[in-house]
Amino acid sequence: MVTLVASFGLMLSRGWRWSLSFLAIQYLGVFFFVQTIWPISLAIVKLISGLIVCFSLATSQESKASFSNPEISWPQGRLFRLLAAGLILITTLAIAPQASNWLGINNPGGTWASLLLMGMGLLQLGITTQPMRVIIGLLTLLSGFEILYAFVESSALVSAMLVLINLGLPLVGIYLLVPENLEKTR
């Protein structure tokens, strides 16, 4: 339920504070699913890295409420996003048991959460060109993948490298938003 609310919230929210709050809640959901498979000492890494991601993204934002660089792509309406997210929800609910069976994962709930996050991530990537939104979309997609991958792979080094990628993506997003004059003064 936490994952569902967070992913829907991320789809519908426009202000960066709300978006990053939902992203943080989403990482809490990821932690919940991963800790059912991995030792809690390893699973907590997902939560901590997720929170670092949210903090680093938050520090890059200006004081204004919405993300810098206005969204120029369509559609922007909340109703459209809600309907699209609803479709993802229904689709993932329908295919989760079969997918779980197909992949040999004995946890339909975890598979559903994973597919939902991946679907929501793809949806976000499909309807935005705004750098920070794209980064959040990619992080959502990777969060979904990480739940699924946690079921099959428990290597600490793979986990560490995934954390590195999770931390690298917001840095890329922040770099893309750095004003040119600031970059030249380096």
Binding site: L138, L141, V152, V158, L169
Partner: protein, 465 residues
């Protein structure tokens, strides 16, 4: 001392050190020097054979172990290291002549070391993670200093990132297949995930839309580097799978799928190139076609397909970097690369215009140019396999040639009666003239690259033999 230490870790440390240095000229020369030394070292230093220097004896080992994982670079990888580092050196020289930002140097070195480590790492599933890190490092290289990040850059990041989960998941499934527990369904799952991963990684149609978009958003030298190194490493990574998994190599439909994908890419690329009105996008479509040619080459069974695949690498590298250099020189004084803007530029930048045309025609496989011998061999082999495929190949090539002829017409159009007024500096004139000679000499004497090309396939145990 180990080979990964020399060709992966030392360059990585250098990349970080160079990044801190503010002097542009020093950074450029350091980059050129380091890449040249690494290429020479790969050529001269033996791996796993003691090297006697007076009373000293040094032996370079193949493996470096980090946190229980291995990085392996053996003597069979040395031709590849020579190719990568000498190409990097050539790119640095072109970037310097083009007046590209000095930040290209450390990022280029870092990206190439990350991608070499992706090819060297065991177990192989870490390669997908290393490639993703290289993609993230490439963003500062690709971000334009003039414009905010555009759709092409975001799409590039998205599609390349999406490759990673598929390859990681297929890695897990392949472990099951290798362990012998896999039945037919497991093999098909692994094949689907692996296929999707490589479709994203290699920017195979329809996931190549970022290429022409990115071409207009970034510096031509940066674009050329990324569109050279990522597909090259992606293909080598793919060849690793073909080499190590017999069931993939001997799959009935693999050849047909590779050929169909390749033909689709060259035909769509060729048609778009024929009607293109932007020089930067034109280059991107030529590179899309190059990926298609490589796919077609790999669809040819036996060693000949692999030989053609490797044979395509050197002419492509030269043509692409020279094309990007010439484009950078023209774009330095022009706001865009639209045909309307660059009309008559051949009279102001005759050397750069000549290189653009010759590189374009070389990539189309025009006789007497660098790309001709290998394109001719590829077309011949394709004709043996499928006559319809050969006809489509011809259509695609005509499309790319039409794009080249249109570019030529635009560049030499007389816009006023002033005649020639050359604005390239002497260094540019000299280097571009050398480039013209290089493209022609490589077309007439392709055997000069044979010593390197013949050794490249030896890095694979089954494919190269």
């Amino acid at each position: 001392m180990s080979a990964p230490l020399i060709w992966i870790f030392i360059p990585t440390v250098f990349a970080v050190m160079i990044w801190i240095i503010p002097n542009e000229r020093l950074v450029a020369w350091l980059g050129i020097g380091i890449s040249l030394i690494l290429a020479l070292a790969a050529w001269l230093l033996p791996i796993e054979t003691p090297l006697n220097l007076g009373n000293w004896s040094i032996k370079i080992t193949t493996t470096l172990t980090i946190l229980g994982r291995h990085l392996n670079l053996s003597s069979t990888d040395q031709p590849l290291l020579i190719f990568f580092y000498s190409s990097l050196c050539f790119w640095y020289i072109c970037s310097r002549i083009a007046g590209a930002s000095h930040k290209h140097i450390p990022y280029g070195l870092l990206i190439i070391t990350l991608l070499i480590s992706a090819l060297a790492v065991e177990p192989f599933l870490y390669a997908a993670l290393l490639i993703e890190i290289a993609v993230m490092v490439s963003i500062p290289l690709l971000k334009s200093a003039k414009h905010p990040p555009g759709r092409g850059l975001m799409r590039y990041l998205t599609f390349q990132t999406m490759a990673m989960p598929f390859i990681l998941f297929s890695g897990w499934l392949l472990t099951g297949v290798t362990a012998g527990s896999g039945e037919l369904s497991l093999i098909s799952q692994a094949a689907i995930f692996l296929g999707l991963g490589f479709v994203f990684l290699l920017a195979i149609f329809p996931f190549n839309t970022w290429m022409p978009l990115l071409a207009t958003e970034t510096h031509p030298m940066a674009l050329a580097f990324i569109l050279w190194i990522l597909p090259t490493v992606g293909f080598l990574f793919g060849l690793y799978f073909l080499d190590n998994f017999t069931w993939i190599r001997e799959a009935n439909n693999l050849s047909v799928i590779l050929r169909a994908s390749g033909l689709l890419m060259i035909v769509t690329g060729g048609i778009w190139a024929a009607f293109q009105k932007n020089l930067q996008r034109m280059m991107a479509y030529a590179i899309i076609m190059e990926t298609g040619y490589s796919l077609i080459a790999l669809s040819i069974k036996g060693t000949i397909g692999v030989d053609i695949f490797f044979g395509l690498l050197i002419p492509r590298t030269f043509a692409l970097f020279l094309w990007a250099l010439a484009l950078s020189i023209i774009l330095d004084k022009n706001s865009s690369a639209q045909f309307a803007t660059v009309k008559g530029m051949g009279r102001i930048y005759p050397f750069a215009a000549s290189i653009i045309i010759l590189s374009h025609f070389s990539m189309a496989g025009l006789p007497l140019l660098a790309g001709f011998p290998i394109h001719q061999a590829l077309w011949e082999q394709l004709g043996i396999l499928s006559i319809n495929g050969a006809i489509l190949y011809l259509v695609a090539t005509i499309g790319l040639l039409m794009g080249g002829i249109r570019t030529l017409a635009v560049l030499v159009t007389i816009t006023n009666e002033d005649g020639f007024s050359i604005k390239e500096n002497w260094l540019q004139r000299f280097s571009l003239s050398l480039g013209i000679l290089l493209l022609i000499i490589m077309g007439i004497f392709p055997q000069w690259a044979a010593p390197l090309l013949s050794q490249l396939p030896s890095m694979f145990n089954h494919l190269g033999k």
